[in-house]
Every structure is written in C-alpha cells, then in structure tokens.
C-alpha cells in the first residue's frame, strides 16, 4: 500500500502516526535525541576546555587525513613506483612523515587523556574506542612497513613472521605475501581506523569533554542551551550567571 505524500516540502513526521513507526523515522529520532545538531557540531565548549592538550585529538585526525591522501596517490601508482620516480619518492616521504606525525599526535593525545582520567562520567567507551583506534593504527603501520618492497620490508617480514607464526596468526596472515599485505594495508585497515575514529568522535560529541577532577558546577546551575550572549555578542567566555542560571 502506498501512502500519498505532499508533493513539496519536507513535513515533520506526525508523532504517533503510522509514519512515526517507520525505521527511518525511528533512526532519525534516536539520532537527534542522542546527538542534536548543537552537540554534533558545537560552537561552544565548557570554559575548562582551554589547554594545548586538546589540540592533539584534532591534529591526529588531520594527520590521518594527510596519511590517507598520500596513501591514495601511492595506491594508484603501485608499491614500486616510488623507488624509481623522484615524485614517487617525495610522495612516499609525505606518507612516511604524516604517519610519524600521526603517531606523535595520537600518543600525546592518549597520554593527555590518561592524565585527565578522561573515562570518567560514563566515557569508558570513548576511551576504549580510542585505544582500539591506536591498536588498529599499529596494525596499519605494520602492514605499511611490510609493503615498502625494499630492504627494510625484507627484514621486517623475516623477523615478524616468527611472532605471528608462534601464536597461529601466521597460518592466515602471511607477512611475506605482498599481495595479501598490500590489500589489507590499503583497503581494510584504513577503513577500520576510519570507522573507529568516527565512532570515537561521535562518542566525544555525545558525552562532551570530561570535566576537571573534583569540578563543582556553580551552585544552582542548570543545564543550558546555547547562551544568547554567545550567539549575539560573540564574547569568548560566558558565565553560568549570564547563561541564565
């Protein structure tokens, strides 16, 4: 049976109507209730979000994007291109250094979150996805080193096979199989890291940035919407009093 819909516009799904039970409507409601637009893309943060340590999360994502971009060029040209082309070598160098930066930023971010005990306030899943992202990144980097098709990759595959064989992984993942490793590195693992990263960021947006330890909100303060003062005057800091509490 086909319902007749208005020809134009995008009407709200009436609450309690048959459309409100549609999977699409349910998914939208669930999404908006957990992550309303002002949480998903906020234009303000609690005043305590004022430290350089907060920069390293976004720097990690930025480095990941540069890794992806340089890796995409290398994927189009094949694993041996950079040995014989100066442009190829430069592209490989950007991939190499963006990976180094990615890990530097990620490790600083991780340590920062540890010292902030950032899992407090039901944020343990945010921590766990961050840890998963780190481990998946290790696997991605490892497979990247294996597909360099140079002396380094010869040695790394020769050495690494023993650890993986010893625990049975070598039966399914052969470090000396360039075809297998290349596909895993270029197709599977970036997707895994990307999906976990998106999940992690959505959790950060949903739960908010962890407050300082022993933080005591001002007496009588209540959860607030975006303060008008921020939206109109553009003042950098708005007190709870100004926000109506």
């Amino acid at each position: 049976m086909t319902a007749t819909l208005p020809a134009t516009g995008a009407p709200e799904t009436p609450e309690g109507g048959p459309e409100s039970r549609m999977w699409t409507a349910r998914l939208r409601r669930a999404w908006v209730s957990k992550l309303p637009p002002d949480k998903l893309l906020p234009d303000r943060q609690p005043a305590y979000v004022a430290s350089w340590i907060y920069v390293f999360g976004v720097l990690t994502i930025a480095a990941f994007l540069v890794v992806l971009a340089s890796g995409l060029v290398l994927a189009f040209t094949g694993p041996a291109w950079y040995h014989t082309s100066s442009l190829g070598h430069f592209t490989n160098s950007t991939h190499f250094w963006s990976v180094q930066l990615f890990f530097v930023f990620m490790v600083i971010h991780l340590w920062g979150k540890f010292w902030m005990a950032a899992w407090r306030g039901r944020r343990w899943l945010t921590w766990l996805t961050g840890g998963l992202c780190f481990l998946a990144s290790l696997a991605t980097a490892f497979t990247g080193y294996l597909i360099q098709t140079n002396f380094d990759s010869q040695w790394i595959s020769f050495e690494a096979k023993d650890g993986l064989n010893a625990v049975g992984i070598g039966a399914f993942f052969n470090v000396a199989n360039l075809g297998q490793t290349l596909l895993i590195h270029a197709c599977l693992l970036p997707l895994v890291v990307g999906v976990i990263t998106v999940w992690h960021v959505l959790l950060v947006r949903r739960r908010g940035v962890v407050p300082p330890m022993e933080a005591v909100p001002p007496h009588g303060a209540v959860p607030v919407a975006v303060p008008a003062a921020v939206a109109t005057s553009g003042e950098p800091t708005v007190t709870s009093e100004e926000s109506g509490s």
Binding site: L41, P46, N150, A166, G170, P236
Partner: protein, 320 residues
Amino acid sequence: MSARKAADPAAAEWTGPWRRYDIVKEGVVAIVVVAVLTLLLAMLFGSPDDKALTFKGWASSAKDDFYATTVSELAGTSDSAGYGPPYNNASDGLYVGPLRPQKWFGVTHPVDPATDFVITPLQSQEQPAAVAAALKTWLAASADQQTKWATALDDAIAKANGDLSKVGSGDFGPVPTLAQGLTNMAASGALDGVLLSQGKFYQTDYTKQILFLGDGSYLDDAATAAHLQGNTWGMMNETGSYPGQAWLWLYSFWYQLPKFNSSNPNDYLTNNADAVIFYIMAILSIGLLLLPFIPIIRSIPRWIPIHRLIWRDYYRSQRT
C-alpha cells in the same frame, strides 16, 4: 536522570561557564598546519629506501655463505627446513604452556627448502652438463642417501667454520656440484627471477624468497649493520638516521631483557620468546582498553596531579 547518573558528577551536563569554540575552524587549521608540516619534513629529510637485497648480490658478494646455505637446505639443517608450521612439519613450533596454536593450525604455506630453493630452480633452467648430471644422480638416489651426502658436506663446512677452501674431501655425492650450480645461477641473476615466478605468470607471494634469504647470514649481517636486530631495539629502528616505529618501544623492550635474550640454547623463555612476548603484549593491550575498570591503575591520574597543569586555569578560577 537516573540515580547512578546523578551520583557521578563527571557524567552530568556541564553547568558552569562556557567559551566560544569554532570546531570547524580548528579542524581546517589543523589540516593545513599538518599538511604544511608534512610537506616541509618530506622536502627537508625525504624518506628511507634502502634497496632490497637480491640473490644475485648475495651469491656475488658472499659466495661461500650462499654455497653453505644451499648445502644446509639440501641437508635439511637450515632454519627453514626445521621451522615447523605453517611451512612444514619438521617441528611443533613455539608454545606457551598448553597453548600450541602454531601446531594446531598446521601447515598452511608449505615450503620444502631442498626442493623449492635448490632442485626446482636448477631444473627450471638449462644447466651445464655437470650440473645436469648431478641433478640426475640426486633425483635417482634415495632420500636417505641424499641426506647422507648433504649432511656430510654440511658438517664438513661447519668444521671448516664456513671457509670452503678448508673443506676436506668426503662422500658428498652430487651435492658440491648442485651447490656450485645454484651459486653460479644466483650470481648470474637467474635465481631471482626463477624464485619470483615459481613457474607461474602472476605471483605476489615472497615467502620462499624471504625464508631462503634469511637462512644465510647475508640478510642478518645487513640488518646488524643497519642496527635492526631485535636485541638492540631494532624493532623500532629504521634504516639510515630516520625515525622508526617508535610506537613499538614496549614490544621491543621485552626483547632486551636477559630472560628473553639468553645465550643458553635450552632456555625456555628465550626459545619461546616470540610467543611469550606476543601474549604479554596482547594482555597489556587488553589492559589498555579496559584501563577505566582496573583498580589502582585508573587512580594514578588522581595521585599524580598532572591534571592540575592541564586545567590550571580552571583550578585557579576555583581558588579566586
């Protein structure tokens, strides 16, 4: 709000002061900064790319080592020949207590070093008459006889400390001719191509080349010269002066401990270090993921107040 939520102030909606935070601008600036920094580093320092070793290079510059390794492949005394799963059934592989996954999963990438590294490559090319005759003799002999010949020469080379000029005479059968034939073939560059194609048109599996290359001391010596050995933090080193996989420092750390690095050939932990260290790292990785639930560890940030530095502005404002 549930009672549990209310009991955890860190879970409550923040009701204190706020500040403007342009998250999109921050993201765009971060991408530009990282991209520029990456390009600068790439332009200034480039990246490591030491050429891959070849069998031609090995047989040309370390002829005796290549010859001796070939003999060890025929004798079944090389590392590959005695490796076990997933390459062959020569041993059970490493284990930790009752955990023997290397044995359980069995042979999934079969490698027969004598046949795959020596006999098949020799058969794939037209050989000088002497080598062709030696091949015929070898193939006509029983497995026992083949082993006797190859082991006799292997022992003689070991006795001469690898110096072929000091190897005495003995009943080596066709083995010296086969080993010399493969050495000549490798020095000409033909073996690289033969091992790569292995009778097929398409090929992306380098297992046999890597295993054969690792059986000699050529690859090992090159790794030592490049400071890549596992017992000298080589796991996190890179060729040249470039930064390596520094993120593997903890994995590499275990290999530096004498317990995993003993010279005693019967030491259990040293012999099974690859398995034991993998499990240690697996447990530590799970610990990292579940850190919020681990007593004591999760309290460390409270005891060592680095958070006071991170949120110094906030704590200062609380005092005033």
